[in-house]
Amino acid sequence: MYIIVVGGGKVGYHLTRALLAEEHEVLIIERNKSRVDFICGELGSICLLGDGCETTTLAEAGTARADMLIAVTGDDEDNLVACQVAKHKFKVPRTIARSNDPKNEMLFALMGIDVTVSSTDVIMEHIQQEVPTHMLTRLCSFRDRGFELVEIKITEDSKSIGRKVGDVLLPSGSQLLLFIRQDQKPYMASPDITIEAADQIIALTPIDAEEQLKAALKGD
């Protein structure tokens, strides 16, 4: 695949390394000359000096034949415009934008950006996951299909402890998939498993039923 990355900061640089390792053809567009020199020194001549929101720069980058454009600068407005120019001027089939302010996700979706990754949300979720009392962690969202994979930690005060999976009333569309218990191999959830404290459960749930699922397992 030919992939254009707009923004050669830390995210753009490490993303490009990973994409190159997967043998994609990658080009970074970066505005800062010293950053361009650094990237070309590390990764070879794959970094173009210029403004990734400008039609002329994108034309020079061969955007018309790109399969994907990923905009990961630190400025939401620049990421939005880079993706829109790629989509409308160059008919790039897939555009991915980083949004730093989680509130911009809705606008980006409305404006036809295929995927928006909110860096603030991602960092927050990873940190929350490490807080012992935090019950539910989003692992992966299938936004276009309206559901997500989550991990639920059964805390000491959960009223579902001692109950069988089949007896817990889950919200419609939610499903417990996998149980991970200390010192045991993970196993598939089945109705006759009894829930224990400190269980980690991988579940599938409609995005809007997250709170209900939490309530069902916490029992209040």
Partner: protein, 135 residues
């Protein structure tokens, strides 16, 4: 008319004072209060420190009841993003914006925004004056 102007630079301040003098209800937003000193002493509108690409600031400026939104910051992309928020999220009936880059202006006009490029307008004006055309 209830008008929100984003960016209190020379153009923003000039337009705000003109609309204010015409009796319109003007709210002007800027991320820095420095620009507000460009407003005339008798300006009767509201000046708010806030970011026009931020939902909370827009709501504080009254975007939900605004008849018009005009984006006039120095950044093309900031204007484009704010204008799209005003148009697509808050459904403001009339949205205008400044886009210096002629190519980006053309794209966003095609996408339904009323974008104006000072680069094009001023160049045309200079050419016409130079060649005594249409004067």
């Amino acid at each position: 008319m209830k008008v929100i102007i984003m960016g209190c630079g020379r153009t923003g301040a000039q337009l705000a004072s003109m609309l204010d003098a015409d009796g319109h209800q003007v709210t002007i937003l800027d991320i820095d209060d420095y620009g507000f000193r460009r407003l005339p002493a008798d300006f009767s509108g509201t000046a708010i420190v806030g970011d026009g690409t931020d939902n909370e600031s827009l709501k504080k400026a009254g975007i939900q009841e605004a008849d018009a939104f005009i984006a006039l910051t120095q950044g093309d992309n900031r204007n484009i993003m704010a204008a799209q928020m005003a148009r697509h999220i808050y459904k403001v009936p009339k949205v205008l914006l400044r886009v210096y880059d002629p190519l980006r202006r053309e794209l966003y006009n095609d996408l339904g925004l009323s974008a104006f490029s000072p680069t094009i307008i001023f160049s045309q004006l200079l050419r016409d004056n130079l060649l005594d055309r249409g004067l």
